[in-house]
C-alpha cells in the first residue's frame, strides 16, 4: 500500500471532473469551455491511471495514452472551429450561436446585458528600427 492511496487519486480526479463540468456549464467563452472540457477529460484520465496502478496492470495506462492522443486531435479541431466561429461573429460568446433551435422559439437574451467590452487600449509601440520589411497588407486584417 503506497502512502498515497487510491482514494486520493480518485478524489483529485473527481474534483478535476467537477470543476471542468461546472466551468463548461457556467462559462460562455468558447475557449474557456473548451479548456473545461479538457479538464474533465484529464479527471477521467487520472481515474484510469489510478486504477491501473491500483490493479497493477497496464490497461488503464494504455487507455490514458489513447485519451491523450484523442484529446490532442480534438484540440486541433476544436480550436480551428472556434477560430472560424470567432471570425463570423467577432466574439467568443457561445450564446451568439442559437440559430439551430425550433423555428418558432424566441432567442434567449440575457436579462441584464453583459458589460460592454473595454475599449481597445492603444498598446505602446516600439519605434520601428530600420526600414519596414515588404509584406502584403491584407495579412494584418486576418487575425
Amino acid at each position: 500500500m503506497s502512502p498515497v492511496s487510491l482514494h486520493n487519486f480518485l478524489a483529485v480526479g473527481a474534483i478535476l471532473f467537477a470543476l471542468g463540468a461546472v466551468g463548461f456549464l457556467a462559462r460562455r467563452n468558447l475557449i474557456i469551455m473548451f479548456l473545461s472540457a479538457e479538464m474533465m477529460l484529464q479527471g477521467v484520465a487520472l481515474n484510469l491511471v489510478a486504477f491501473a496502478r491500483y490493479r497493477g496492470n497496464l490497461q488503464g495506462q494504455a487507455f490514458t495514452l489513447f485519451i491523450l492522443t484523442v484529446a490532442a486531435c480534438e484540440a486541433a479541431i476544436a480550436l480551428a472551429l472556434i477560430l472560424m466561429l470567432f471570425r463570423r461573429r467577432k466574439s467568443l460568446d457561445v450564446s451568439l450561436w442559437q440559430d439551430l433551435r425550433e423555428p418558432e422559439l424566441e432567442p434567449i437574451v440575457d436579462e441584464e446585458p453583459l458589460p460592454a467590452p473595454p475599449e481597445p487600449v492603444e498598446l505602446p509601440r516600439l519605434t520601428p528600427a530600420g526600414p519596414e520589411p515588404e509584406h502584403p497588407r491584407e495579412e494584418a486584417s486576418h487575425v
Partner: protein
C-alpha cells in the same frame, strides 16, 4: 437420358420457360426481329419430346411419374409430381404441335410489330403454363398453372395495350374467369379437407366413391365452375368474344385451340369424381348443351369474322361439356369412358380446325389491312386463293361436313353419346333426350353460320376496303405452310382416328383402365349409322341454306332480318347479356365500390391520420427543449447522467 421418358418430362414445360426468359431479357435490345427463334426452337423441341411421351405411353410405359423436390425443412418436404398418361399425352401433343405451328405463323403475322419480342416472350410463357397444366399431378400445381395460363391470356389479349378496347377486353377476361377460379379454388380446398389432406390426383380420384355424396356434388359443381370460367360456358362466356382484341394467332392458340380447353381437360381429368355424381353431370351437360345452342344463335348474325369464330368456339366447347356430362350409367354399363373419349376427341380435332380458321381469319385481316368486318369485304376467293381453300377446309370441319372432315366424326361421337345417355333406363334420360335435340339443332345452326361467314367473306362480288391498299396480297409462305399443315390435320385426322377407333382405344387402354376402374365396364363404341346420316344431312342443309341465302339470293338475308326484328335483334345484340350483366352486376358493384371508397377515404384514412397526429402532439410538448443553446444541452446531459448514476447508486 432418352431411354427413360421420365427423365425428360420436365423439359417439356421448362424449355418454353427458358425461351420466355431469354426473349424477355435479350429480345427488345439484341434479338429484335429475330426474337422468334427461342420461342420456336423451344416449342418444336417440346413438341418432339411430347411425341416421345406419346410413344412411351402408347408402348405401355408404367408409373409415368417423377417427383421433384421443391424445398425441405426439417422433416417437412415439399415437392410436386409431374406425370403423364394417355390424356396428358394427347393434350401435350395438341398443345405443343398447334403451338409450334402458330408460333411459326406469327413470324409472318407479327412482322415488324413494335412489340415483337414481347409477343414471343408471352407466347413462350403461355406454352410453359399450358404444358405444366396438363403435366401437373396434383390440384395445387394444376391451379398454379391454371392461373398462369390466365395471366398469359390477359397479357396477350391486352397485347395492343394502347387501344382502350383491348385493355378493357383483357381486364374483362381476367375478371370474368376469376369468378370461376374462386369456385375452383374453394372446390380444391374442399377436396383437400375430405381427402385426408392430399391433393394428388391418384389419391383423390381413386377414392372418389368414398366421399360423402352431398359433398361430392358440391365439389364437382365448384370444380366445374372453374371450367365454366376458363372455357367460356354460359353465364361466364362473355369474355371470349371480347378476347378477339388480341392478335389473331393468339386467338387461334389461346382462345380456340388450347387454353379454353383447359376446363374440358379439368372435368375430363376428374371423370372418376364426376362419373359417380350423376347430378353434377346433368348440370355439366345442361350448361354445355345450352351454351352450345345459345352461342350458335348469337353467331348467326355477327358481322365480325373473328367474333363468329369466337362464338363458334364457345359453342364447340359447349359440345365438349355436353359430352362430358352425358357419361352416365346405362343398364349396368358406364358411359363415362365413351363420353370422355368423345369430348377429348372433339377437343383434339377442334384444336386443329379452329386454329386453322383463326389463322385464316388472321390471313384475311393481314391482307385487308386489319379490317375484319365481313360487311366491308367480299369475293375474296379471287384475291386470296390459297387462304380461301384453307378456310374452306376449316369451315368444312367446323360445320361437320359428312365423312371427309374431322369435325363430323368427333361431333357425331358426342351426339351418339348424348343419345345413348338419353335412351330409356339411364339416369335423367328425358333431359338428355332434350339435350340431344338441342345438340342436333346446334349442329345445323353451326353449319349455317360457318358457311354464312365463308360465303360472305369469299363469295359475291369482289369488295376490298380501302385500308387494304390497291393490291391486297396473299400471305407469305411462313404463314401459309403452318395453315396447310393444320388443314391436313383438320381434314384427315377425323377419318384416320374416328372410324378406326384408334383414338378411343388409346385413351381407354392407357388412361381410363387405370384411372377409373370403378367405372367399368365401359360400353363398347359403335357408330350409329342413322345418327350419322341425320347429322350429315343437317350439316348439308345448313350449308345449302347458307348458300341459298348469301349467294343465290343475297337480298333474302336482310329481308329475313326485317321480317323477324325481335329474334334478329336478340341474336345481333348477343341476347343483351353484356347489358344485363352491366346493369345488374357491374353497376351495383361499382356503386358499392364507391361507398367503400368513401368509407376508405373518411373512416379508415381518418383513423390512420388521427393516429399519426398523436406523435405530433407529443412532439409539440418536447419542442421547447430544442432552444439552440449549447450549454443548455450540456446541462441536460449532465442532469441525465446524474439521474442515471443516482438510480444506479440508490438501487
Amino acid at each position: 437420358m432418352f431411354d427413360d421418358p421420365r427423365n425428360y418430362l420436365w423439359l417439356i414445360p421448362v424449355l418454353p420457360l427458358l425461351a420466355s426468359v431469354v426473349t424477355a431479357l435479350a429480345g427488345p435490345r439484341w434479338l429484335k426481329q429475330q426474337s422468334h427463334w427461342p420461342c420456336i426452337i423451344a416449342a418444336v423441341c417440346s413438341c418432339f419430346l411430347s411425341f416421345l411421351v406419346l410413344r412411351a405411353v402408347n408402348s405401355g410405359f408404367e408409373d409415368f411419374k417423377r417427383y421433384y423436390m421443391w424445398f425441405e425443412a426439417g422433416n417437412v418436404s415439399v415437392g410436386f409430381t409431374l406425370g403423364a398418361d394417355g390424356l396428358t399425352a394427347v393434350m401435350l401433343v395438341t398443345v405443343t404441335f398447334v403451338g409450334s405451328l402458330i408460333a411459326i405463323y406469327s413470324i409472318g403475322y407479327m412482322h415488324h410489330d413494335p412489340g415483337y419480342a414481347r409477343y414471343f416472350a408471352e407466347i413462350s410463357l403461355f406454352l410453359f403454363s399450358m404444358t405444366g397444366l396438363v403435366l401437373a399431378e396434383n390440384f395445387i400445381l394444376l391451379y398454379a398453372f391454371w392461373e398462369g395460363v390466365g395471366l398469359c391470356s390477359y397479357l396477350l389479349i391486352g397485347y395492343y395495350y394502347a387501344r382502350p378496347s383491348a385493355a378493357a377486353a383483357a381486364r374483362k377476361a381476367f375478371l370474368v374467369t376469376r369468378l370461376g377460379d374462386i369456385g375452383l379454388f374453394i372446390g380444391i380446398l374442399l377436396l383437400w379437407s375430405v381427402s385426408d389432406h392430399s391433393l394428388d390426383f391418384s389419391r383423390i380420384l381413386n377414392n372418389a366413391t368414398e366421399i360423402d355424396p352431398g359433398m361430392r356434388i358440391a365439389i364437382c359443381l365448384l370444380l366445374f365452375s372453374g371450367a365454366v370460367g376458363k372455357s367460356a360456358q354460359f353465364p361466364l362466356h362473355v369474355w371470349l368474344p371480347d378476347a378477339m382484341e388480341g392478335p389473331s394467332p393468339v386467338s387461334a392458340l389461346i382462345h380456340a385451340a388450347t387454353m379454353v380447353t383447359a376446363g374440358v381437360y379439368l372435368v375430363a381429368r376428374c371423370t372418376p369424381l364426376f362419373g359417380v355424381t350423376p347430378e353434377a353431370q346433368l348440370v355439366v351437360a345442361t350448361i354445355g348443351g345450352f351454351t352450345a345452342f345459345l352461342a350458335s344463335l348469337i353467331a348467326l348474325t355477327q358481322s365480325d369474322l373473328k367474333r363468329v369464330l369466337a362464338y363458334s368456339t364457345i359453342s364447340q366447347l359447349g359440345y365438349m361439356f355436353l359430352a362430358l356430362g352425358s357419361g352416365t350409367r346405362n343398364e349396368g354399363h358406364f358411359l363415362a369412358g365413351l363420353a370422355v373419349t368423345a369430348a377429348i376427341f372433339h377437343l383434339f380435332t377442334h384444336a386443329f380446325f379452329k386454329a386453322l380458321l383463326f389463322l385464316s381469319a388472321g390471313s384475311v385481316m393481314h391482307a385487308m389491312g386489319n379490317v375484319i368486318d365481313m360487311r366491308r369485304f367480299g369475293g375474296l376467293r379471287h384475291v386470296l386463293k390459297k387462304t380461301h381453300w384453307l378456310f374452306l377446309c376449316g369451315a368444312g370441319a367446323l360445320s361437320g361436313f359428312p365423312v371427309i372432315f374431322s369435325g363430323f366424326w368427333s361431333k357425331d361421337e358426342i351426339l351418339a353419346d348424348v343419345l345413348e345417355a338419353g335412351s330409356p333406363g339411364s339416369v335423367g334420360s328425358f333431359a338428355y333426350l332434350f339435350l340431344f335435340c338441342l345438340g342436333m339443332l346446334t349442329a345445323g345452326l353451326t353449319a349455317f353460320y360457318t358457311f354464312r361467314a365463308y360465303f360472305l367473306t369469299f363469295w359475291g362480288e369482289v369488295r376490298i376496303p380501302h385500308e387494304a391498299g390497291e393490291h391486297p396480297h396473299e400471305s407469305p409462305p411462313v404463314m401459309l405452310v403452318p395453315m396447310a399443315i393444320l388443314a391436313v390435320g383438320a381434314v384427315a385426322l377425323g377419318l384416320i382416328l374416328g372410324p378406326t377407333g384408334v383414338f378411343n382405344d388409346f385413351l381407354q387402354e392407357h388412361w381410363m383402365v387405370s384411372a377409373f376402374p370403378h367405372l367399368l365396364p365401359f360400353k363398347e363404341h359403335h357408330h350409329n349409322l342413322l345418327l350419322m346420316v341425320a347429322s350429315g344431312v343437317l350439316a348439308l342443309v345448313g350449308i345449302g341454306l347458307a348458300w341459298w341465302m348469301y349467294v343465290r339470293k343475297p337480298a333474302s338475308a336482310s329481308e329475313l332480318a326485317q321480317a323477324l326484328p325481335g329474334i334478329y335483334g336478340l341474336s345481333r345484340n348477343k341476347f343483351y347479356l353484356d347489358e344485363i350483366y352491366n346493369a345488374f352486376i357491374v353497376k351495383p358493384l361499382a356503386g358499392f365500390a364507391q361507398v367503400l371508397r368513401v368509407i376508405d377515404l373518411y373512416v379508415v384514412d381518418g383513423i390512420v391520420d388521427l393516429i399519426a397526429q398523436v406523435p405530433r402532439w407529443l412532439g409539440m410538448l418536447a419542442r421547447p427543449v430544442q432552444n439552440g443553446l449549447v450549454q443548455f444541452y450540456a446541462l441536460l446531459m449532465m442532469l441525465g447522467l446524474a439521474g442515471f448514476l443516482l438510480s444506479v447508486l440508490m438501487r
